[in-house]
Structure formats: C-alpha cells, structure tokens
C-alpha cells in the first residue's frame, strides 16, 4: 500500500506537468484570437480552462498522496512553505512554490469577475514562472530523474512551450496584426495605465 502511494504520487506529478504544458500552449493559443483544431475561439478558451482544472486535480492528488506517503514524510506546512523540507529542500521547495503559484492563478481566475481584469492578468502572468518551476521540480525532486522516459517527456514539454512562446513573440501572432499599436499622448499615459 505504501508503495502504491509513492508510485501514484510520481505518476500524478508527471501527468500534471504534461497537462500544464497543454494548458500553457492553449493559453497562448487562445490569446492569439485564432481558431485552432477546427474549434471556435470560445472552445479553445474553455479547453484551456478545463485542462487547467484537470491539472489542478492531478496536482492535488500528487500532493495528497505524498502527504500520506510514509516514505516522503511531508509535514502539512511543507505544502505551502517552500524550501523548508527535509528531502532535497531546493527541489521539493520548487514544487511547493509551484503549488502556491497555481493556487494564486486558479483562485484569481475563478474570482476574475470580482477582482477585475487588471489584477487577474497580473497574477495570470505568473503562469510563465509557474510552468518552469514545475518542470524543474519534476526533474530535480522526481525519483525518476535518471530515467530516459522522464527526460523525454520533459524535453517534449519544453519544446511545446518554447514553440508557443516563440510564436507569441512573433509580429504575426494575433489575428489582426495590422491593428496598429495604440499611440497615447504623453499627458494621457497615466489614464491609459488605469486600464
């Protein structure tokens, strides 16, 4: 039984990373305002949200199974306080940091209509920090870090996210690249930033 928890924790962690990779790629894809896979824009948007919620489910399973695993010996505060663990504190701490960031991103997304678009967007940008943190946690803390399959999965994830980010930075990323960059007069800048 104890072995089952241990293996399950490792598996759910990998599944969560793969799902997060899909979520980041879909999030960038949704931001482009383009349709994808014959899906309308709102469906890409919903796929991004639902894949993210599924990633959260696997992340919760990953954390809870480690909490009850007699080998990992996690304490409750290890779940929220990073870099204080007994076992590879740096690598385990990255996982805790990733969890904290995920909680922030998900909670602000669920409360998006209450906190407003600016605050939501500011926190949502943390996803670009959360994903590499999760990746490094998997490679560093994971007990499978010497295996070919974990490295292969991780490298495919890196390739997917890198490709999406590079696409994001190209001038033809959005649906209407010909929309001119808005030019705001100097004296109106403070007003513009209110948005």
């Amino acid at each position: 039984m104890s072995d089952a928890l241990w293996y399950f924790a490792r598996g759910s962690g990998v599944v969560s990373l793969v799902l997060l990779t899909v979520v980041v790629a879909l999030g960038i894809g949704a931001r482009s305002g383009r349709t994808a896979f014959n899906l309308p824009r709102f469906a890409v948007n919903l796929l991004h949200r639902n894949a993210a919620l599924l990633a959260v489910v696997f992340l919760v399973l990953h954390v809870v199974s480690l909490l009850f695993d007699p080998y990992a010996q996690l304490r409750l505060f290890d779940l929220v306080l990073p870099f204080a663990g007994n076992y590879r504190p740096l690598w385990q701490g990255l996982g805790t940091l990733g969890l904290d960031l995920m909680i922030a991103i998900v909670v602000t997304s669920l409360l998006r209509h209450r906190i407003g678009a600016r605050a939501w967007r500011a926190v949502h940008w943390l996803a670009y920090l959360c994903w590499p943190v999760a990746l490094l946690h998997g490679l560093g803390a994971g007990s499978d870090n010497g295996t070919v399959w974990l490295w292969a999965i991780s490298m495919v994830c890196v390739a997917v996210v890198l490709a999406a980010v590079i696409w994001r930075l190209t001038p033809h990323f959005t649906r209407f690249p010909q929309r001119a960059e808005r030019k705001v007069a100097e004296r109106l800048r403070p007003l513009e930033e209110v948005r």
Partner: protein
C-alpha cells in the same frame, strides 16, 4: 428589458462574444463586436439571456455586462 453593455475601453476584439451570441453580435472588419440592430447596447430577448450570460462570463477582457432593468 435586459441589455448587453459593451465596455469599449476594455474590449480587445478577441471575438469570443460574437461566436457565443451570433444572434445579437457580429464582428466588424477588425474583430470588434457590433450589435446587429445597430444600437450601442443591444436588447437581449429572454430566450437569449443564457447565451448572453455565457458571452459575459467568457469575455477575456471582462468587457461585457448585462444591464437588467427592473421596470
């Protein structure tokens, strides 16, 4: 009468609303929504209210709002 309000300072023309509410909204040449009836905040008939609510919920810029008149 419920009306759909579009906040033009927030709207980024992502085009989700016109997909979710094609009965009321179309896209202009730049991808920004325009009401099919030409009004600035189109009236939402009862049967379309759930679809309008979905458009409000999904707007990435939070630029849509339903204005419910209690009269």
């Amino acid at each position: 009468m419920t009306r759909l309000h579009i906040d033009w300072t927030a709207c980024d023309g992502r085009g989700l609303c016109a997909e979710l509410l094609p009965e009321l909204l179309a896209e202009d040449d730049w991808g920004f929504p325009i009401a099919r009836d030409g009004s600035p905040s189109p009236a939402v008939p009862g049967p379309l209210e759930p679809a309008a609510q979905r458009a409000v919920d999904r707007c990435p810029a939070l630029a849509l709002r339903l204005l419910r008149d209690t009269r």
